[in-house]
């Protein structure tokens, strides 16, 4: 009897709302415990000094930790600079190559399954210590030297002079790490390519478009949202990888408990830069998506 009354009391819409909140309830709890609370504490910590280690009593000291990072600490700014430049330079390379590979694999080719499996494999190496060990030994350079030799033999490059060889070699050794970190991006691009309706290509072909033209007029515009997704993934991935100097530095600093407030400040600076970069990407992509829809 009581239950019936309760049901009448709730309208259909209210019930719907409550059910929705129930589904995301675990996330809201997690957000409060594992995100919002630590985030605000980090902000607070970055502006203060720990006076008592037991119980973490803090004292407000203003911008001192931030000043320390930029003015006193000789190591931090170069590391930050390095992390940002390598990310900014590697991201476009990563996107271009992973889109290229995804398009190669998306064609009807033999051993398709093998290639798809192979291009995802380096993800299993992760971005942690396993990869660091390999890079320490210089496996990336060996891999590119052999691979480059197949496509562009040294004999051919000799005609272009030693400068070109050096240039190509240094470029290729930089690119291996990009390749190895592009597994997930390739897969996201593959999924995106699959979602483009075939009818568009067929129509373009009937109207006399070449493969090249249909890439620029169909594939690329249709893939813009996927490219946006991928560029953000790449950015976040490279900012959290262990080959990143800032992270190495933070792990080194964290060993001493007196550095906690300083590490928090570095973390906040780091986040601000990540956020700025993402905002720039969003701004650029909105403009380009808008331009394409104008056409």
């Amino acid at each position: 009897m009581k239950r019936k009354r309760y049901k009448k009391w709730l309208t259909m819409e209210k019930k719907h709302t409550i059910e929705g909140y129930l589904f995301i309830l675990p996330w809201i709890l997690g957000f409060l415990c594992f995100f919002a609370f630590p985030f605000f504490q980090s902000v607070q910590l970055s502006f203060s000094n720990i006076t008592k280690i037991t119980g973490f009593e803090m004292q407000w000291i203003g911008l001192e930790n931030y000043a320390k990072a930029f003015v006193w600490d000789v190591a931090f700014v170069p590391y930050l600079n390095q992390a940002i430049t390598s990310t900014v330079f590697n991201m476009p390379l990563n996107l271009v190559f992973s889109l290229f590979i995804a398009m190669l694999v998306n064609r009807s080719i033999r051993f398709r399954g093998f290639f798809r499996g192979a291009f995802f494999l380096p993800v299993l190496l992760g971005s942690g210590f396993v990869l660091q060990q390999l890079l320490g030994i210089g496996v990336d350079q060996q891999a590119t030297e052999v691979a480059r030799g197949i496509v562009m033999p040294d004999e051919v490059l000799m005609y272009l002079g030693p400068n070109v060889i050096n240039y190509v070699n240094s470029f290729m050794s930089r690119i291996t790490i990009v390749f190895w970190s592009s597994g997930v991006q390739i897969i996201i691009f593959l999924a995106g390519l699959q979602s483009i309706p075939v009818a568009l290509y067929e129509a373009a072909k009937c109207d006399g478009a070449t493969v090249w033209e249909s890439f620029w007029k169909i594939t690329l515009p249709m893939m813009l949202p996927v490219i946006l997704l991928n560029s953000i993934y790449t950015l976040v991935d490279s900012f959290t990888s262990s080959t990143n100097r800032v992270i190495e530095y933070m792990m080194f600093l964290k060993a001493d408990i007196n550095n906690y407030e300083y590490v928090a400040a570095i973390g906040m600076i780091y986040f601000i830069f990540v956020f700025l970069l993402i905002a720039i990407i969003f701004g650029l992509s909105r403009k380009s998506i808008y331009n394409l829809s104008e056409r």
Binding site: F23, P26, F34, F35, I109, A147, I188, G267
Partner: protein, 327 residues
């Protein structure tokens, strides 16, 4: 009549030309037909590129296996490149011993399995709420989900350490497992995003039918939606397993006791340990042995996920194509 004669003439000159080898003629004509998308040259270049790229991607694995199987003598011998003279398993036994492999394997699998289960349950549920229900603040909350993807853990790490030390989760696997049950932990937001994209692309009819037949919301989700979402589940499971297995930052931060360390975190200390022990051991004190053992250890660390991936690879790829990750 005349036309016909002329036609035959052209044909005969052509056939004279080709008499020597019709096969070559076919190939030449295929190569020259540039407008045809599948020309032979184009195909050859494609395959060359593909195999070349695949080589770069597979090289680390080949290198690891081959180096691990080399004896120190083979390492020094410059003529031994890919095929060791004899299969040298000493590196592996040594790595197994110094990694304390099987115990480490158990711990790492424990953490990985439970964290993955947490991610799958919580993220799919939360994503279902975001995809199928309309409630106030929904869009703002979803922007917050995206924010959790963007903000690196590094920013929060100190407060998390303080929090976990207060509730006694430092040096305890709880700190790695429990957040995943709330849609957090390692890239939890990304999984919510993937699941939401999938649910948005799914037709409503099945759920509506179930609701009309009197199925409640949670049961609809559990017995109707989840079984249909197999491909998204598979994709997320694999990604979650791989990422958790290889995660280095959070375990290194929370778990500092050597006895509790997970396999990947053991690698750097292993390297130091081996260096020291090799210096004492005067007979084999050279870096070549060290490299062999380190590669064997590295290979052993990723071997379990390699096996898991090879088994699920085909379905994983199908799942990615079908799941409509990009709506």
């Amino acid at each position: 009549m005349q036309l016909n004669m002329r036609f035959i003439g052209v044909k005969s000159t052509l056939s004279k030309w080709n008499k020597s080898n019709p096969k070559i003629n076919y190939l030449v004509s295929r190569m020259l037909s540039l407008r045809h998308s599948g020309t032979l040259i184009f195909r050859l270049v494609t395959y060359l590129l593909l195999f070349d790229l695949a080589f770069i991607f597979l090289y680390p694995f080949f290198y690891m296996i081959v180096t691990a199987l080399k004896s120190p003598v083979d390492m020094m011998d410059i003529t031994v490149n890919w095929i060791p003279r004899s299969l040298h398993t000493n590196n592996f036994t040594r790595a197994l011993q110094s990694l304390d492999y099987f115990r480490g394997l158990l711990k790492t699998s424990f953490v990985t399995i439970f964290a993955t289960i947490g991610h799958i349950i919580s993220c799919s549920m939360v994503a279902y709420g975001f995809a199928r229900y309309k409630f106030p603040l929904r869009d703002i909350l979803f922007v917050l989900v995206l924010l959790t993807i963007i903000i690196p853990t590094q920013t929060l790490i100190i407060s998390l350490i303080i929090l976990y030390s207060k509730i006694g989760w430092l040096n305890n696997y709880m700190s790695l497992i429990v957040p995943t049950f709330f849609g957090f932990g390692l890239r939890g937001g990304l999984f919510i995003f993937i699941f939401r994209q999938f649910f948005l692309g799914m037709p409503h009819e099945l759920e509506e039918a179930a609701r009309i037949d009197g199925c409640n919301a949670f049961r609809t989700y559990w017995t109707i939606v989840l079984p249909v979402a197999k491909s998204a589940l598979l994709v997320c499971t694999i990604l979650s397993i791989v990422w958790h297995w290889n995660d280095f930052f959070e375990p290194a931060m929370y778990i500092t006791k050597p006895a509790l360390q997970l396999l990947p975190s053991k690698l750097p200390s292993l390297y130091e340990f081996l260096k020291r022990s090799l210096q004492q051991d005067s007979i084999v004190s050279d870096t070549f042995t060290l490299e062999g053992v380190v590669m064997a250890a590295t290979f052993l660390v990723i071997l379990p996920i390699l096996i898991v991936y090879l088994f699920l690879q085909k379905k994983f790829m199908e799942g990615i194509e079908r799941s409509g990750l990009i709506g």
